[in-house]
Symmetry: D2
Subunit: 365 residues, 4 copies
């Protein structure tokens, strides 16, 4: 049961990178939601390779097909099956690498786990696995927006050593249009050339670079999240660290907040339009695992992609020293394309928590 | 279903801070394991309040009672019920705070979620909830040690602005005895006085301070972890962010690794005694969500405790500005006591992944 | 994860027959429900041994202790831990049987599964395991009654070859008081002496006899139940066949209905006070797995208890022929005591479906 | 989460009767199994409509497409996505019935649950939903056969009032070839004409008839099954009652066994080739929820199909009396086609229990 996520709004993804299709089944989506394939396609387009000069040259249209769960543009309350065909698979690019586990890739660990040689192109460890997440996340977003008015926006926060300060973004107003105005997906104009240069420099060196994505979830009511193991922040951390290439997660004040005093860090309550709010938001929108009505704000760390053209000295499965230089198409930096994946996983977590919260209310107003 | 964790090695915790008991039911523990209550008690003693001048003065013996699942010192394969009585509850200390949600505490969000006023002393949001986790984690550690030779050791990595460098600890050899040699639970001698001063300074100001805990899991085979949503690092992130007061998680190179190039970050394979290992460990022991046989290394951020004696300006539920100063007993810094909690949650994750891995092998050698 | 049941209203039972306690943790119970221990105790008293001359002589007060989840008589929305101490354990009664697996008991299969010798008195296979179910079921009933007006009543339908006809009971009006008016727990006066004689005849022969329990769940709204795998009838069947000693389940027309024509079996719709109802109820209150507002009616088969005083020829673990006659205290017929267990398990199923249905409605009226 | 089944060998089905596809994702299937599409197709062919004069005239080739999880004819350990296109959908046949809930069909309850009008042709309540079950069950059977030597065979046991005696079938030797030798899928020659006449008589009356299916699972080791809630018989009951049109389940002696004495019913142990076996098998292969190595034998009751051509008096949604006669294509009796569905669901249960048992063994021989 390796490919399922969620308790009530539950997704099951499938598909190898070089097989016929990738996709997802979304179970638990409520009936009566307007579902236009265009909404799903829009997020897939933001994730797909080949969308700008900054990303991999693998060209996939990534057209979504809805095979069940929708009639006359409305969800039926039954499982949605969404598939995307693989078109531009080139297994030959990977032929050379058989017998050599790529450093910091999953070839070695998959072989240890499954006892079968890793498939060309990465199998389930490929970034194409995230297509199902993005498609399902787009469905979850419809639920969140239509029923609760929740919005989710992510952006690139740093590329390699280049970053922006938190106060350069207004998390209350930033939109996806702002983010998409530049292919690097950071809306801070002064950062865009720095981020581009960092990506291009890595690419020109046949190398890669890491980065961070930041995300805001706005319009949440107070009360979502489960108090012990399934705290909102715990499920978000789970979701984000399940995205390939992630190495860290922080919410609200995060690691930097550990050096503050409690008197500086505590978010004092103040009256707001619809009840209490907080004067500051070091908590990042959650208290004790439950949303407090302030925006959820979190950051995700992405390592530099493991697949690089630059030659690396490593060992083959027999332990012989070998030199390896990847030929496959790959991204020098994943963060611009990771933006919709982060948004999608956040939507899956919040949709699930919304339904779990409804269950608990059981008939109360 | 707010208080359950794990797929096959599954725990269900219960108990309010000021009720009669806290505890846990551990379901899925294999039969035939030697289980001495002393092993569980040892970890509870490292977690309990009042163990040193650096922690809260609330005094609880926290004696564990095993109510089922063990006969003649051996596990039966049936559920273990472990309970700890609450003894030193003083609800009166909290009387003053009724009607005022404590800043950055869960009073407000629990009320929003459950529609009932938060109980004195924090209910499930209290740190006493973690007793069940530590007790269950100690059981999981027995499984990991006896069947697989896995060891888990955590230590304090920073207190407030004071920290140690990663290379000051040898993660291959550090032991719990090293960690416990000083009450601040950091084995680096030069850091101990700095960490103590940071805690005492906060306490003397009726304030609190944050910190980080680092953890190593050693002796793991390659192959544990599920490849998509239940990656080892994703479950660890889930587990850690479910601990009260945590704000961040990073594994291996973490956030700092995002500024490296792929060529610097990749862990080249090298021959080792029992197969391939890696020359470096930026990955932190996992690739594609699956253990590679190198040590798992991660870090957890703890915010400064929200409960402070220092007066804070905030609002009551009606929105009136009020001044609040806590009287309850509380820790100025939680990280020394968080060490066994981090170890326990790591053990729960790894025991579950071990059993899930065995299932997949189904009869293969 | 052998001892957990339910998706949202989830229970985890624990406890061996001859250990210190048996009990249950109920997770997912909504907040704000009035919970009086007397309500739970009442169902436990109907289940406990020694309540009449027709049942085992093992005498257990079975007093429930609520260790968490309730404050001032109201549920907090947090897990309820309910325990019952074992008092009258007499392991010596079972000493003789070591080395011999009792026929049609779980000694042999537990040894095959767990690789450890079965504990005296049956461990988890003992009927005492059902205490946690009954206690949790009583909590579920409070939810069902308070929030939805649902009532559950079960009764003894047959003992050995003696039975009543379905039309001798009015399932719309039968109450627990009616059922409890006679210790055999069948409200049909003409059947009571026949059922008593069947039980006494078995007991007098140091033998045992089987029987069936029938159950009605009334006041259900239309719409509970999940349409594919978690149909209401499927979860009820799961629940009932998980009760020790059960061998069959049927709902509505059951096995007898298979010999009808569709035109006889179909339940025609007719107008009723609050919408549509059906003229007949061969369906037993469900259509396509979902409640239709008519009473749910089902029947459960209980085999004759395996533990009998009468000598039986069987084999020991080495395959040697041996003669075995049980000395432990045991029931000649379990169905009178099974009545509250059937009710409890039905309540667990329906409470879970209620919460799952609420989740799906997500904000709709 | 209405369409998922299993803990470790977990399936998620999808697809409406009159949409583009039906199918299933199988998660948790171990790697390295030989998977030939022909094996899956064979079971689908036994389920498909139009295979004989005794079944519905709807003609569907039901060709399975494997979209993921297999490479070079071997499972990868990753999710298998299996789809079947709907070809012969004729929604017009159902147009007349809009506004009238069909008696004993799920139209009314789906509307109550989902708040949307039931789709033409039954949506998820259609028998086409079972295609995913049969396809996934065929995969589970490969695991069971290849790794454990388990065989599953089901057959028609009764049609309407016509039945065979249990001892007319040798459950140890019966094969699928025996069963398929006659389209009514009962291998007892003397029963075949009686069963055919019962079906034809119902069909000729524009009516329908019920029946029962019996199933044997052979070659099981002792030790599969979980001892409390997930007993083997409980999961089988769950699985069988989740099949459309089922009303009952019994294992071993079932309902008839309730009238036996314990001394008659108990299965005495006797030495067998590979350890202990039992002289009789009233238990139906399980003790305390765990397999004992004897064949599992169970029976499932199927009601007469609700959809009949014969006119029925019923009410529309407004409560007006109406006369209804179905025009869609439908089976007069489902049991011959139900045989592979019963086998498939049994396989899903046993494959899941096999993996859960492996998990518990964790490293022990």
């Amino acid at each position: 049961m390796s490919s399922q996520f969620g308790t009530l709004f539950r997704v099951a993804t499938f598909g190898e990178s070089h097989g016929s299709d990738v996709g997802v089944v979304v179970d638990g989506c409520p009936p009566g939601l307007p579902l236009d394939p265009v909404t799903i396609q829009a997020q897939l387009d933001r994730r797909r390779p080949g969308q700008s000069a900054l990303t991999t040259a693998r060209d996939e249209a990534d057209r979504v097909v809805i095979r069940s769960g929708v009639e006359s543009g409305v969800t039926l309350g039954t499982p949605l099956a969404l598939t995307v065909a693989n078109q531009d698979a080139r297994p030959a690019d990977y032929a050379e690498m058989h017998g050599i586990p790529r450093p910091s890739h999953a070839d070695y660990t998959y072989r240890a786990k499954y006892g079968v040689a890793a498939r060309s192109g990465g199998g389930r460890a490929s970034a194409r696995e995230t297509i199902g997440r993005v498609a399902a996340g787009a469905v979850a977003e419809i639920l969140l927006r239509e029923r609760y008015g929740v919005e989710i926006v992510a952006w690139v926060d740093s590329v390699g050593p280049e970053s922006i300060a938190e106060d350069e973004i207004d998390a209350v107003t930033i939109s996806r249009a702002d983010v998409d105005a530049h292919p690097v997906r950071c809306p801070v104009a002064s950062a865009q050339p720095r981020f581009v240069r960092a990506i291009e420099a890595a690419r020109d060196d046949d190398d890669s670079t890491g980065g961070t994505v930041r995300c805001v979830c706005r319009g949440l009511p107070a009360g979502w999240g489960e108090p012990v193991f399934d705290k909102a922040e715990a499920l978000l951390a789970h979701a984000m660290l399940s995205i390939p290439a992630t190495k860290g997660f922080e919410i609200g004040s995060g690691f930097a907040g550990t050096s503050l005093r409690g008197s500086e860090h505590n978010d004092a309550f103040v009256p707001k339009a619809d009840g209490l709010g907080t004067a500051t938001n070091h908590s990042g929108g959650v208290q004790g695992g439950i949303t407090n009505g302030e925006p959820i704000l979190f950051r995700v760390a992405f390592k530099p992609p493991a697949t690089i053209g630059k030659a690396q000295t490593t060992a083959d499965y027999e332990g012989n020293e070998v030199e390896l230089a990847a030929k496959g198409r790959h991204d020098p930096c994943v963060v611009p394309r990771a933006v919709p994946i982060v948004e999608g996983m956040a939507a899956l977590v919040l949709a699930d928590l919304a339904l779990r919260h409804e269950a608990l209310r059981d008939g109360r107003p």
